[in-house]
Structure formats: C-alpha cells, structure tokens
Symmetry: C2
Subunit: 428 residues, 2 copies
C-alpha cells in the first residue's frame, strides 16, 4: 500500500470520491451500533448466569468467622472476600477493604475525603490554593472527570511503551508540593493496553514527592483481564515495592469484579498500607455501617478462590479475543502502510487505542456517528476532554456482536481514510 | 408501688442491699447479650430467605424499559425500583433516585457534596466560617456522627410528643444563616417512636430559613415499619407539603430496605425536587456509573409492588411485636409508680426510649454491661454523645431471642432500680 501522503492531489481527489461513495452507501444502511464504552457483551454475561444460583433459601449465609452476612456490620468486608480480592492484586487480605459495587466510587470518595479531611493529618485539599494531579495520557476519562469536578488541575504526562514518562513524573512530583496524586491504570492501561514495566513500578515506588500527602492512585482495573493466555503480562506489586522503598503509605490500589461478574453488581476493593486503611476507616465508619456482605459471600462461593476466578476469566477472554482480533485484522488489512494511523495490539483490558493523523480524531468520530456508529468521544482520553493533537481514539470492541463489530470496524477504517484524505487535501 | 423518692433512708438502704444481692446473682450467670443496635433478629431474616430465590440463571434480567440489568448504566436506578421506593414514601417515581445498600451513605454523601460543592450554587460549606445543624434530641447517633465528623456545630432541639419543638426550629432557622440543615426521623422516630403530627410537617414545610441552602434531612427510615396493624400512624408527605408552601427544594428524603429485606444487602433511595435531584446527579454521574441494578430488580420481583412490601412487613412486625410487648410489660410491671423512669410505647420502628432519673443513664448502662448486657451507650442519642441530663437510654429489643430479651429486660430494670437508689442515697 502506498502512504496517503505520497499520493498526488489528483489521486487524493479520486480516492476521496470513491470513499465518499462508500460512506454514503454505509450511511444508507441506517446502522445503530455502540463502540463507545468498555462494556461486556450480553454473550459474556449469558455465560455466567449461574452466578445467580450460588445463593438460595437453603444457603448458609455465615462468613468463615461466623458472621451472619444477612445482618449489619463488618466495615472491612468479610475476610474471605478480602482474601479473594487481595489475591487478585497480589496483596495480603489484611491490606484490603471491600466496598460497594464500583471501584470508581472508592476513588471518588478517596479524593472527596482528601479534599475535606486531608490525608493522614495533612491540610485538607479544599483549604489549599492549588491542588494538581498528574494524568498519564491517553488515559481513563472517568478518572479525569473526578479530578476535574473537584477543581484539581490536571497535568498531562505522555505514556511510553513501558508506562508513563517517569523522568517527567519524578521531576514534577519532587519539585511541586501542589501535586498530590497521579492516576494510573498500570496493567492493560485504558486505552492503550500497556502494562507498566518492572522498572516503571520501581521508579514509582521510589518517588520522592515534595508533598507528604502525595498518593499514587493505582487503578488495577484489569489485573486478571488477559486476552491471550500465553502472553499474560506480569505487573509488579506496587504496595510491597513502595514498602521496600521506604514509602509504605504512598499508594492506594483499586480493583473490582465489574468485568469479572456483572458490571454494577460486583464488589470493589481498595488495598493500601495499614496506616492508610486506618485513616480511611475513620471516615468510612461514619459513612456506612458496612457494604453488601451477601454479595461478597456470593462472589466467594462462586469462585472459591483466585484460581476459580482466573479460570472464569478465560471464558470472558474466549468471547472477547475474536472481537479484538477482528478489529486488529481490519485495521491491519485496511490501514497498514497508509501512514494515516497507528495502534497497539493489547494483551488484555477492554480497548484498542488508535492514533489518527493530527487534527483528525474529532472528525473521524463525527463521521462514524453520522453513519450510526457511536465511538468514545474524541478527546475523552485526555484531561478536560482536550487532546492537544486531536489524534487519539479509543475503540471499545467488546459490546457489539461479532457481526456488528465487523460492520462497525469497516465503517471506522473508512472514516479514517476519508478524513485523512480531506486533511491531506487541506480541506479541514 | 411507692415512689422511691418517698422512701426513708433506711428503706432505701434495705432495698439497696436486696437489689445488690439480686444483681450479684445475675452477674454470676455470665450473660452475654446485645440490646445495643436496631438489628433485625435472625428469626426475622430466616423468614425471608426466599428473597434469594427470586433470581437464578433462568431469570430474565431486563428492566421494564428493556435495560439489561446485568450491565453498566442507569444512574437513577431502574424505573420500577424508583416506583417501589417512591410508593414507600408516597412520592412519584420521578422524584426518586435509587442508590447503594444504605441510606446512611446517601446522607453522608449529601453532606460531603454540600461541603465541597455547596447546594445548587451556594458557597461550599467548607468555605464558610461556621456551619450549624439542628438536632432534635434524643435522636439517631449515626446522624450526629456525620455532622460531627464534618465539623458542623450541632444544636439540640427538644422533642415533643408531636415532633421537634417547632417554635424553636422556626426561630433559629429564620435568624441564623449558618444553620444549614436539620436531622429528622419523622416516623417512629429513633429512639422515641414518635411520628410527627400533620401540624409539625406543615410547619416544617413552611419554614422561612435565613440560609437559601438550608435543607431538611428527612430520614424516613421507618416509613412502613409498623408494629401494630390497627394503629399504623400516618405521616404527611413532606415533599408535596414543601411544594405547596413554596419551598419545593427545601427537603431531601431518605429511605432504604435495610429493615425490609436484609440489612446491608438492601437498596436505598433519596427523594427530592427535580432541581435538587438534578444537582445531585451532577456529582453522582462522576461518582458512579450506577448502582446495583440486579439487586434493584430482585427487590421489585420479590415484592411486586408496595402492597407486597407492606404485607411482608407484617411478618417482621409479628416477630418484633412480642419483644416490644415483653419489654414494655416488664417496664410497666417493675417500674410503674416508682418514679425513677419513663418511657413511651412506640407504634413502630426499632426502639423503646427510656428516660431515667437525671444523672443515672451512664451508670445504668455500665451496670448492665458489667453483668453482660450491652445497651446503646448512654448519651449516644445526643450530639457529641453528651446527654445534658444523663437520662436517656435507647433500648433495642429486636435482636435478642425472646428468652434472651426477658433476661436482659429483667437485668435492665434491676439496674435502673439499683442506680436510682444509689442516686437517692446521694452515693453518686
């Protein structure tokens, strides 16, 4: 394939005419597809309906320690659930608190708590003139939405193939006391699918922040969400690395079963040092009497242990893998060599990150939408929804059926071509 | 029975000796009972184990509007759950948002949101020098714990048999702009079991607060928690009363199914005006993707509608009623005429409120504890855990078995007598 930039104006105009025709044909089909969010497909959820059989009127609803899971109490969650989620992260049960149905909510609460009460004795962030967060980009829009809502200034940190640019992270946190945190999705990052290297994790653990209340927000959302069994990527345990480096309290780690059992009906967890957890408990004990222990027990009984959970995840992978492969194949087949976009093949997670030519992402997403395929909004992967290069697009291939996905991916590459041609013709 | 205060010193000393002997006998039994919290008994929970049969792998997990309850989404909760909880409160489904497993958490979040973001455009409370809340006393300790944690100054408002002292409430809120809210348990109040009269509700609705961001925190925790079918007490709907009085945005109402299905595994709701709910949604949409819709669906399928829910509550009442009656009978039999304590027979809710002679509550609770019966801490029903008269004790009769309860109640009246005698003898 010849790179588009090598084409003459006449060639581009001919190509444009042809692509426009193809586009109008697709538009006429009246598609209505959604590739916007990292949602499991119905076929994934169908596969785990037996999760609802785990507990019935004949079940014994006692936790291992004898607690009646039907009644009030147990702020931290039942121990066996703490163990299960701890094993998901590779940390001891004692370092884990189980919360409600979403880790996002724990992250929000963690920021809210820091705003109002500070962090283990520090000045409440709401009393400070300026609070800043580092945001590896592209990243997860819902993280950025939280810090934006609290008026926290966000600073873009470029991602590399081994994680965030650690030179920049080290420099900034050591110099600026207003920097109180960094958002990380360290494994199969959202949206690029990058797993932080051992060196990156060690450099995180060894940070020397100017702010004593600086915390790493380690959202390990895809801890066991491999797509390919043979290439499961390993992530170093940040909590023990921080302890080894003399920074035991520098990290909060988050996870959930939202993409393990049912989204919205899972359990979530925060893992951290004993000191951090004790501080969290001080507010949590006023905020709630305890989270849903029956659902915790349901999870433990369904999976038995982390091995059961990992086996279960293979079933999800089996449904998702062909979808990722299909999109990657279409990208490869249709765009390779054209030099109008690049992408990474992820080893896990829920997304394929696509980088279009500069200044083209918004228009590509618009074109897709016009033809009935909703993508994640261009810019969503950046703080303030502002992608400085207007280049990154997050593809979420999991929710559509394989048939829908093929149609959507075909439309996507068509829009990439069309917009790129327009760009090269100087028409946008 | 002769009132204790009419007894001579010698009579008191004889009585003391006799009571002390009885007390030592009970102590020797090594009791270990808990009357401290408003927890349903295991026998209540046993009765509703079929709740766990509602959903299994053959269930259709679609909401009425077609939403797949297994997947992400629907910030407000599924409509049929909003309708169910709305019917519990007597408000339209449109005025209801369903949240997680505990209404306490919504109340906490509501205060936290006001602290950080203000209320519909007002100055964030954390930026103000002083924020105050009115606290009808005796009241619910977990309410007071929230406002205490946020550094909100609490002002005691005496309860009357028709609700809080409204003269005082009207005067204070109209004069002091720092007063931003009031905690209310308007039906079968915690701990007295008082239902606010129509006049009280109307006076609440017609308040003219100095602070535009003043809100009534209407914790309708016991909306359908009658003990006696024939005497179900009616509470006026505060939301429509506020609207009629020209104060549509002045109230947040809260409820949950914590004492309807399983505590900790229920669903909760906040009801309010459209404007308040819109403001709440602005933060909620960043805080969560949505709460547990499968559990919402489980509740709707189990009860069908509010009639099913009310029928179900009769089963709880049938278990609880004999316990309340047993305690009330022992109080009546052992203490009537002694003038060392007073109590109210509640028509619903989870508590019996007992007022000892001034300065005796702490010591009574201590004595009970020493003999193996844990009561709610004396003072817990007041802000800062400070009962100015050291008089109020909250009795929670629901959790023990009837046999345990009889033993605990006997011990309680014994301790009331013993401490009162000591008080009258000037020995404390």
């Amino acid at each position: 394939m010849k790179a588009y930039k090598e084409l003459s104006k006449d060639e581009l105009l001919t190509l444009k005419e042809q692509l426009n025709k193809e586009y109008e044909d697709v538009k006429a089909k009246g598609l209505k597809l959604d590739m916007s969010r990292g949602k499991p497909a119905a076929s994934q959820l169908d596969m785990e309906m037996d999760f609802l059989n785990v507990l019935d009127e004949n079940s014994v609803l006692k936790a291992e320690d004898g607690t009646d899971c039907r009644n009030y109490g147990i702020l931290d969650g039942i121990f066996e659930a703490r163990k299960l989620m701890g094993d998901m992260l590779g940390v001891p049960a004692e370092n884990v608190i189980i919360c409600g149905n979403a880790s996002l909510n724990i992250m929000y609460d963690t920021i809210a708590r820091s705003m109002i009460f500070g962090v283990m004795g520090s000045t409440p962030w709401c009393k400070l003139d300026k609070v800043k967060f580092l945001c590896p980009v592209p990243g997860y829009d819902r993280h950025f939405a939280i810090t934006e809502q609290f008026g926290i200034e966000m600073i873009n940190i470029p991602m590399t193939s081994t994680g965030p640019d650690m030179d920049m992270v080290e420099k900034l946190v050591s110099e600026d006391e207003a920097i109180k945190g960094i958002w990380c999705v360290p494994k199969y990052s959202n949206p690029q699918g990058i797993t932080y290297s051992d060196e990156t994790v060690k450099r995180f653990a060894a940070l020397k922040p100017a702010a004593k209340d600086f915390r790493i927000f380690w959202d390990n959302a895809y801890a066991i969400h491999d797509l390919y069994e043979e290439t499961s990527e390993e992530l170093l345990d940040i909590i023990s690395e921080c302890a080894k480096a003399g920074n035991p309290d520098m990290v909060y780690e988050f996870c959930s079963t939202s993409k393990v059992t049912f989204p919205g009906s899972g359990i979530s967890a925060v893992a951290s040092s004993e000191a951090n957890l004790d501080f969290i408990r001080k507010t949590m004990t006023v905020q709630t009497i305890g989270y849903d222990k029956i659902n915790q027990l349901r999870h433990v009984k369904y999976f038995k242990d982390i091995h059961g959970m990992k086996e279960h995840m293979k079933k999800h992978a089996a449904v998702m893998r062909p979808k990722f492969d299909a999109v990657l194949e279409i990208l490869e087949k249709e765009l390779a060599g054209l030099e109008i976009g690049s992408w990474v093949k992820p080893g896990g997670g829920y997304f394929i990150s696509f980088d279009a030519m500069e200044g083209c992402a918004k228009e590509i997403v618009n074109k897709c939408k016009e033809a009935g395929v909703v993508m994640t909004g261009a810019g969503a992967t950046f703080p303030y929804k502002k992608d400085p290069k207007d280049s990154n697009i997050r593809i979420a291939p999991t929710f559509p059926t394989p048939e829908e996905l093929a149609i959507a991916a075909d439309l996507f590459v068509l829009c990439v071509k069309l917009v790129s041609v327009n760009k090269l013709l100087g028409e946008m």
